[in-house]
């Protein structure tokens, strides 16, 4: 599209800019403000510079949460990406069933996150849940309320159940964009099923997969509701991830200063990882 240079277009963009600026810049500035002060109450606040930052960055509690968070994000990505691609390959490409499966696969994405937590909370209990009961019935000791390992498995399983569909749907649409001629040519070239996947489908999925990985990483890194409802962060601290840690601090304890510093560190980590990921990908493109 040949775009016309016209600065008056700003008028069209102004409402959006105003809203987002209002919603984003003012709060961020507030947060920055709090992060450098020790706040006792409305009238007693002292400038403390980078003290909170230092404290947060060396706080074992924070670092533990960070570690758990990275572990969680990598675990779910490692499962969701291949599984999502696999599901996309298995979904029918056309016909009546195509629409039906599209809807079935999309449903987990539309359930309020607390309900997702509730579903799995119930499902995994050994007394009232089909899953929990079945696992225990075949002899494995499984109780997510008391065992950190069980809690982790349940949380990861829940996230896989919840979000694999996103990757699946992204890849599904990416696959639909491949012209039939490529498959035909591969047939004539006597390519094996694996070769077709590797040389025809995967290259074309690259761009949607980049978006998918980025989104899933960000969202898993910011996850709050589902694990909160499912395990409450426990047993103990074992499934307390970053968002929950922050919320506890901000709303629970009202420790505004440290919470604010933590917030910014959190935001920066997300931005940093996204930036790194993006740079690596685009660098790879250039090298080619």
């Amino acid at each position: 599209m040949n775009k016309v240079q016209n600065n008056k277009a700003w008028f069209l963009v102004l409402p959006v800019f105003a809203l987002v600026a209002f919603s984003a810049i003012i709060p961020i500035m507030t947060v920055v403000n709090y992060s450098v002060q020790d706040i006792f109450d409305q009238n007693n606040a002292y400038f403390v510079g980078a003290e909170w930052y230092r404290e947060m960055l060396s706080s074992p509690r924070l670092l533990d949460s960070l570690l758990r968070q990275f572990g969680f994000s990598f675990a779910v990505l490692a499962i969701q990406i291949p599984l999502g691609i696999g599901v996309a390959l298995m979904m029918p490409a056309k016909g009546r069933m195509a629409a039906v499966w599209l809807i079935i696969v999309a449903i987990p994405l539309l359930i309020p996150w607390n309900v997702v937590g509730t579903i799995w909370q119930v499902f995994s209990r050994e007394d009232i849940g089909l899953f929990g009961w079945s696992i225990n019935a075949i002899g494995i000791d499984y109780n997510y309320a008391s065992s950190p390992i069980a809690a982790w498995i349940t949380v990861v399983l829940m996230d896989v159940w919840h979000w694999t569909s996103l990757i699946a749907l992204l890849c599904y649409s990416g696959l639909r964009a491949i012209p039939e001629a490529f498959y035909q040519a591969a047939r004539i070239d006597r390519a094996s099923r694996w070769a077709v996947f590797r040389y025809v489908q995967l290259p074309r999925l690259r761009s949607v997969l980049i978006i998918g990985v980025l989104l899933r990483f960000m969202d898993s890194f910011m996850i709050y509701t589902e694990p909160f409802v499912l395990t409450g962060g426990g047993p103990g601290n074992s499934t307390t991830f970053l968002s929950q840690e922050l919320t506890k601090m901000a709303i629970g304890q009202f420790d505004l200063g440290p919470a604010a510093a933590f917030s910014l560190i959190y935001y920066l980590i997300v931005l940093l990882v996204c930036y790194l990921f993006f740079t690596i990908i685009t660098h790879q493109d250039k090298v080619k």
Binding site: P179, A181, F182, Q184, A185, R187, I188, D189, R190, A191, S192, A195, Y199, V200, L202, P203, K288
Partner: protein
Amino acid sequence: MAEIHLKSLAHSYSKNPTSASQYAIREMDHIWEDGGAYALLGPSGCGKSTLLNIISGLLSPSEGKVLFDGVEVNNIPPEDRNIAQVFQFPVIYDSMTVFDNLAFPLRNMKVPEVRVNTRVNEIAEVLELEELLSKRAKNLTADEKQKVSMGRGLVRSDVSAILFDEPLTVIDPHLKWKLRRKLKQIHEQFNITMVYVTHDQLEASTFADKIAVMYGGQIVQFGTPRELFERPNHAFVGYFIGSPGMNLVEVERADGGVMFNSIKVPLDNSINAILNESASTNIKIGIRPEFVHVWEEPTDGAFECRLKVVEDLGTYKILSIDLDGVEFKARIEEDAPVPTDKVYISFPEQWLKVYLDEYLVDPTHDALEGA
């Protein structure tokens, strides 16, 4: 090398077709001889791509048989038919180098790497792709990509026929002739049966020894470019071939010939006889602009007309002429005198074609057939 025989072939995309209009390919019998270079020419939607896909096996015909060297191949998948197909837009494996692209079919067949190497280099030389072998396929221009697509077809030594589905569509006009020439060269060198689908008659006539013209799901004529030009079997062939195409006029039977508006065109008795045997009212006469004889002076047997437009195209001129309300185009040499207002045209008998129900009325031919 393969002789491809299409026997009683018909194809419909509907499951239970009830009328002729639901057929993409209407019943046809056709033989493509071994080692020939053929074009399948026709307008969009006439069924050429369908026919090509049936030959290659990507589509299974709903009726009839496809035979390669006498063996029925209907149920044999494309990968086992020893054919290669080049598509409208370049189909290459983006993530691989040109070398790997060309090697792909061979490696899939577990050919030893040494052989792969020699073969790829051979083909790369023929197609003038040697310098590009180590480049990533993604970064090539459209014509280079098409050459790679063709190369993948040629690289297999067991290929007996190559099918081209409008392969020059995405190529820049000034490069088209280069690729066409290359195709001709390959044909001469490898002597493989080649079928080339196109809607461009120039491409068809430069590439093919014989052209099959397709219209409405049927091959209406199969002949050399010259035969198609001089003796179009079907009104559509007359109209489609030539630039501009044949002048076609709907006419009615008249005494001793046919007529349109107030113009009477006398015809030979043998033709009149054939016309009178039929009850159909679909009669047309056709004559190519090249064969319309233009006179400056009133002449016996010539009709008086009014000159409408003269288009000067450098080496020749096109005259648009009004004969009693019907437009005719005539083509004259660049040096020929251009009449100013009144012009006289006649239709030499050997070039005036009569079409009954779209097909050519040819007494000599029918006589031979004993019709």
